[in-house]
């Protein structure tokens, strides 16, 4: 069947899609444009008030030590979370893909439970677990560690604790996607490889990974974007402390906008995050296009 697209058919569809386009413009485009415009204003809330300052917020940012601390933490946060989710996710997906695993759908449903938990609720649970007197330290003391660390009040450990919580939430999604990918792989190639004497590791590195390359790349790109922008976990667990050692850019932007009365500066941080994320977004769009 040949479909002929005409200008007329698009124009006749416009009245039907216009309402939803306006809604999307209002909900997405307007705040986005508003945020960009705000980034060019400085808020002297107890002085001159809000005034147009051009690129002053961006200049201020590059000499702001907290911005660089946040950026460094963000890179560590995103890289570690995505890396752990990918490695652990692949291991668990491979386990679930084993032919003798029964009730795979039940496992899949149970695995999804952390993902279904509200991030703030999950963060509060993990905050309790990692507390100075929490169950983790109680367990460590019971097995002989007489002086376990204050996970949430020690630099380094605080970001690590937040990473653990975030991986716990994000892992299910990665597992489900990788499992679906594994189950779509052709079995005859593996049979042929087995006959040729390829062991488990060789089949994984020379067959599974190359065949799933596109899927893994898209997964890494999406989880990187989501993880980079995460806010609720760190806000609820450590609020960026101690000593700003777990401060992320999303949290710093929030603090500036809503706690320090610096909306313009907070918006500017958001714009910088957007530009940083354009890289993986561009990569994602290119990958999707090359797939189609």
């Amino acid at each position: 069947m040949i479909i002929i697209r005409t200008k007329g058919s698009t124009a006749s569809a416009l009245p039907y899609i216009l309402p939803i386009l306006l809604f999307i413009a209002f909900v997405s485009v307007y705040p986005f444009v508003n945020g960009i415009l705000k980034s060019f204003y400085t808020d002297m809330v107890f002085g001159a008030g809000r005034y147009f300052s051009g690129l002053e917020n961006f200049r201020e940012m590059f000499s702001d030590s907290l911005f660089w601390v946040g950026l460094r933490n963000n890179v560590i946060w995103a890289a570690t979370c995505v890396g752990l989710e990918l490695v652990l996710g692949m291991l668990i997906a491979l386990l679930l893909n084993l032919p003798y695993i029964k009730l795979r759908s039940v496992h899949r449903a149970l695995i999804l439970l952390p993902w279904a938990t509200t991030p703030v609720v999950a963060a509060l649970i993990w905050r309790y677990i990692f507390g100075v007197m929490g169950p983790l330290n109680t367990l460590l003391r019971a097995v002989g560690f007489s002086n376990p660390p204050g996970w949430l009040i020690t630099p380094g450990y605080s970001l690590f604790a937040c990473i653990v919580a975030n991986v716990w939430i994000g892992l299910p999604f990665v597992i489900v996607i990788l499992l679906a990918g594994l189950q779509s792989l052709p079995l005859d190639i593996y049979e042929a490889a087995s006959i040729d004497g390829a062991g488990v590791l060789r089949r994984f590195f020379y067959l599974t990974l190359p065949l799933m390359k596109s899927l893994i790349l898209i997964l890494v790109t999406l989880t990187s974007i989501w993880t980079f922008n995460m806010f609720d976990i760190v806000f609820s667990m450590t609020n960026g402390g101690p000593g700003n050692s777990s401060l992320l850019l999303s949290l710093y932007a929030y603090q500036n906008a809503f706690a320090y009365f610096q909306q313009g500066y907070g918006s500017a941080i958001g714009i910088v995050c957007l530009f940083i994320l354009l890289l993986p977004v561009t990569f994602y769009i290119r990958e999707v296009r090359s797939e189609t």
Binding site: M44, S65, V132, S146, N239, G243, A259, Y260
Partner: protein, 417 residues
Amino acid sequence: MRKLLILLLIAAFGTALFGITLDFFCLAWQPAAVDAIFDLVDEWNLNNPDVQVNIIWGTWETSDQYLLTSFQGRDAPDVFHTDAEKFHEFGVMGYAAPLNDYVSDELLEDIPASIIDDCYDMFGNLYGIPWCQEVQVIFYNKDIFEENGIVLPDDRMITWDELVEVAVKTTKRSSQGVTTTWGFLAPLMERFHWTLIAQNDGHVLVMDDNGKWRVDINEGAREAIEFYLSLIVEHKVMPRDVISIDYTSLMQGFINGNYAMVTFGCWNRRFLIQSGAVNWGMLLVKNDGNKINASDPQAFGISSMSKHKDEAFRFIEFMTNAKNSAEISYNDFLFPVRKSALQDPRFSSSVHEWDTAKSWLQYADNVKPAMPGFYSFEWRVFVPNLEKVILGSTDLDRAIKTIIDEGNRTLRRLGLQ
């Protein structure tokens, strides 16, 4: 009967159509206080069918964000409740309505000047009506004190040196050197260090005659900060847990005997009474003759965008009258600010140490600098640098230099310089 029903329906419909509804943003969270507020609002609504009040419950942790976004989104509640000193900020930013034309002399005379001053700006505009206060105390574990033979003076006020002495005595370590009981815990979020600074005639933020602020840490403030840090670093009677923002975990530690003393507001008696698991008492710290201790008064105010300011103030007058402010405060384990309300005999009872806490109100004052934007300075610059000293990432000299440099930069951006 049918006629009566029709008349009631018309009245209800008419009220809904032509009556006023005030949105009241409230931060009370202790169960008895919440019930008391529900009862008072119900009483108001019953007696004022043309001015109905709708409660919007908020939390202390998110109140600033909620109010700021509400004001900027032009969807603010008519009446709002928060810390008394924040009304100064909201007033300067144009979000809180001046109340000078509403407030009566009787009300002003009934509230101590030191408390209501927090709600004024430097031009004499009043933005909030204080209604409750507390005094920050040190809760101590009576059993631990008894085990260590510690006897407090009759007025239960101890000096800084005595605090160290008691904390050293009550700090216990295992044979492997692990501390099992810490003598003292003063979480940074409770701001005990500001009490010490005030008691030592210290200052961190200074305003000049033109109303401009600068960061200036004098010797008194430095000594007070050094004393606070010495409890952790030198005397090792206070843990690094002071950095924690987890109130529940810290209080559980006190109940479990992990801390012999903790600083919290006197409202915390409710938590200890409810748990019933610790034999507790209260004491205060002083610096020779200087007995000032922290107080955090709360207030009500009106949004400058409210279309019903007259009615809103009538509601505030109702909530803050002597009887009602006493009722809410008592249920919140706080004290009313009105002198007439403090005459309520419940506040002089020896049960749950009401009488002791009341006798200490005379020493309670807002020890934080009265600068708008103070919280921005404190949480962006001051506290993180103190945390770094506590964690050993930097020394006090470098931390103070950073606080001064970054602090003045923050004040400049806020328009305070």
